[in-house]
């Protein structure tokens, strides 16, 4: 409901806004005049932020510039396949493609994308006065090349946070029981030991009281890469294993023998820690992707868990989908004390900062018009309503908007955390081979989850497999 009325409201305000500034008119109508009759085509995933572009921003842009924009929203893997086929075959179907942070390096390596900074410099008549690259949050850095030129306009950004149930954590009876059992006060965990203890406590508490309640989520699907991601993006870093344990500076080594970290003792400890959590998580965890983890939390079946930021907002605020509205606390993922030092020192990270941008394929036949649209969605003025309709933030100014501050309260400080602690999180490693290595090693990972091989031996095999695949791809010499 929130989302729906949000979009309606946003459309209304945008409309009002438009009528107000049309007097000052108008870069957009002037710039658009040259491209009448052009129809821009974009492809993106059908998520709320993208749907907002399709339903609100694109029509608004058309009204101002006369340039029609058709946004195709599709499923995640279809979106990639279509964008890649188009750019690879140079068909020029799309003028805008969604670039998830983890694929930008692959696209850059292939020179699939137009340099936005450079293009706007080259043709000043295209540059909107309302668009400023420096207004983006640090997330935009993922879409820049070595020279700091921008290749994608950020349109969504999230952090994978530690969510806990405030109603349970603040329940005096539960607090008392926890104290009696562990001798400690019940509060969100800061370390792995604390997290495990709380998880064990709640799983037992649920069992003892006949409740459908467990101590932790686990995104542990045994056939879907979601489990692989949870381990390498969210768990291993908190044990000090970064970038999947692959050392790009050292000939892409993955095994300890060659200088990598994928099968290091830290990685093995991380995996055992997570496997134990999986075992005390609700039974559906073995078939859970990010979707089910979100719904498990929203259904009130767990006391705490790591949840993608995309889902954190609706879990905390959308009563149509969530049973725990108003009872969701946000905290930093638990981590090792030593790792926290590394993270604060800037050499590590403690969780996943994901999101995406809109980029312009060099095969596009309407680059100029597309540049206009990209600037349109990157303006500060459209951000706040967008954030309310589909919780995501990409521009620093958005944090200070009253509507967003109001929402931040509802989300128990999720936006504040994104703003203040966002720097502690990191996106996917800068590898041009993302899905390739993931898919090569995932089958072994599933075997570990099923107990067909032990975690130690399994990680050894995965590291070896990663190197083999990297050799096969030609990155590892």
């Amino acid at each position: 409901m929130i989302r729906k009325s949000g979009i309606g409201l946003a459309a209304l305000t945008l409309g009002l806004l438009a009528s107000v500034i049309s007097a000052k008119a108008d870069f957009w109508s002037d710039a658009g005049a040259k491209y009448q009759g052009v129809v821009l085509h974009g492809v993106t995933e059908s998520t709320p932020p993208s749907n907002y572009i399709k339903d609100v921003l694109a029509p608004e842009f058309e009204k101002k510039t006369g340039i029609k924009v058709e946004i195709e929203t599709t499923s995640w893997d279809q979106m990639y396949d279509k964008a890649i086929k188009d750019m690879e075959a140079k068909t020029g179907i799309y003028d805008m493609v969604y670039i998830e942070q983890d694929i930008i390096y692959a696209y850059l390596a292939r020179n699939f994308l137009v340099n936005i900074t450079q293009s706007l410099k080259d043709d000043a008549s295209l540059k909107s006065p309302d668009f400023d690259e420096t207004h983006f949050t640090t997330f935009a850095n993922y879409f820049k090349n070595a020279d700091g030129d921008l290749f994608g306009v950020p349109m969504e950004a999230f952090i994978k946070v530690y969510l806990y149930r405030t109603d349970l954590f603040n329940d005096p009876k539960i607090q008392e029981a926890f104290k009696a059992e562990t001798g400690k006060d019940l509060k969100p965990a800061a370390t792995h030991e604390e997290y495990t203890q709380i998880a064990e406590f709640f799983t037992k508490y649920g069992k003892d009281n006949g409740l459908e309640l467990w101590g932790t989520t686990a995104q542990a699907h045994t056939g879907h890469p979601a489990s692989w991601y949870e381990f390498f993006e969210s768990v291993a870093p908190t044990f000090g294993v970064y970038n999947w344990g692959i050392d790009a500076g050292n000939n892409y080594a993955a095994t300890v023998a060659n200088g990598g970290q994928m099968n290091s003792d830290k990685a093995k400890a991380a995996l055992k820690y997570w496997l134990h959590l999986r075992d005390i998580a609700p039974p559906e965890s073995a078939a859970s992707t990010w979707t089910e983890v979100g719904t498990t939390f929203a259904a009130g079946r767990v006391a705490q868990g790591l949840v993608y930021g995309e889902n954190a907002a609706w879990i905390a605020s959308d009563a149509e989908k969530s049973r725990v509205v108003g009872n969701v606390g946000v905290a930093l993922p638990p981590t090792d004390a030593a790792v926290l030092e590394e993270v604060k020192g800037g050499t590590g990270y403690l969780g996943y900062y994901d999101g995406g941008a809109f980029g312009l394929p060099i095969t596009s036949k309407n680059k100029e018009a597309a540049l206009l649209f990209l600037q349109f969605i990157g303006q500060d003025s459209v951000q706040a309503d967008w954030a309310v309709a589909a919780p995501r933030i990409t521009n620093t100014a958005t944090y200070d908007d009253p509507k967003v501050i109001e929402m931040d309260k509802q989300l128990n400080g999720y936006y504040s955390m994104l703003k203040n602690e966002g720097k502690l999180f990191a996106g996917a490693p800068p590898f041009p081979f993302h899905a390739q290595v993931r898919e090569a090693t995932a089958p072994i990972f599933y075997s570990i989850l099923l107990g067909e091989i032990g975690p130690d031996e399994g990680l050894d095999q995965m590291a070896a497999k990663a190197e083999e695949e990297l050799t096969n791809l030609g990155y590892r010499k």
Binding site: S46, Q78, D81, T91, E212, T295, A298, A299
Partner: protein, 279 residues
């Protein structure tokens, strides 16, 4: 033995079996009338409250209506085209003494064997770079999908129709020919009426295959010719699957399918009056 089994027994058997058949469809309906928040709680076989919002959302969505229309046009045209072509092909295979016809017959089916994933690439190139006239591409057109679906539907239709065609005694059309009927008259007045149940089944099933196809449509259409199955996949996202919306669309898509079915059913039944086997 066989003549004694009472109709009541049949009825009981069919009702039990129908429960099994209908259960997943019933469950689809259950999902479609539940708010997302109720999907992940202890399930219950019985539906206590009905929540129509998913339907309201879906029916008011203009895009979904367009997808539905595209799907109807594509699958109906494809099924009609395929049925006609397969009828002609089977008549040729069955009635003429063509050199190597059995090999051709077998070759047709090989077109259905290919695993689709890899073939998407050549299809994509064909549609975007080969079949183009000026700015026009076969890509993202309904006609493109109608033609493309022939690759898996034509072999199917030819293989299901051939036995029917072979089963129609040649003596009948020979007799008609002797009586002075033209080839067209033989086909129209002798073969066609007898092949009707087979044709009806072929039409229904090719229609179903086209209606349900996902991978090719997802890759080879984008704005104009998108079908309802690709629309369904839009509800599977990284921010969660919108089960309710997806299920309500799925339930709605059953309706046109059912209408087509009941229209064509008559022709299957028509066969009963001709060659019914009473054991």
């Amino acid at each position: 033995m066989m003549r004694q089994s009472s109709p009541i027994l049949y009825l009981v058997f069919w009702i039990l079996l129908s429960f099994l058949t209908l259960f997943p469809i019933y469950w689809l309906f259950v999902i479609s009338v539940k708010p997302a928040v109720d999907l992940f709680t202890t399930p219950s076989l019985i539906l206590d409250t009905v929540y129509w919002n998913n339907y309201v959302k879906v029916l008011s969505n203009e895009t979904i209506r367009r997808y539905m229309y595209n799907s109807l046009v594509i699958s109906t045209s494809n099924a009609a085209l395929v049925t006609v072509l397969a009828f002609m092909a089977c008549y040729a295979l069955s009635r003429f003494d063509l050199a190597g016809k059995e090999n051709i017959f077998f070759w047709t089916i090989t077109n259905r064997m290919a695993p689709a994933a890899v073939f998407l690439l050549p299809f994509f190139l064909l549609f975007t770079q080969v079949f183009t006239i000026g700015d026009w591409k076969l890509y993202d057109t309904k006609i493109g999908m109608v033609l493309l679906y022939c690759t898996f539907n034509l072999p199917f239709a030819i293989w299901t129709l051939r036995p029917t065609m072979d089963g129609i005694p040649k003596e009948l059309d020979e007799a008609a020919t002797v009586d002075g009927a033209t080839t067209w008259q033989v086909i129209h007045e002798v073969v066609f009426p007898l092949a009707r149940p087979g044709l009806a089944v072929t039409f229904i099933l090719t229609w179903v295959f086209a209606w349900n196809e996902f991978l090719l449509a997802a890759t080879l259409t984008s704005f104009n010719a998108r079908t309802i199955t690709t629309g369904l996949s839009e509800y599977v996202t990284t921010t969660g699957t919108e089960w309710g919306a997806m299920a309500s669309i799925a339930v709605i898509t059953l309706i046109p399918a059912l209408i087509i079915f009941s229209m064509v059913q008559r022709h299957i039944v028509a066969g009963l009056t001709f060659g019914a086997v009473k054991e």
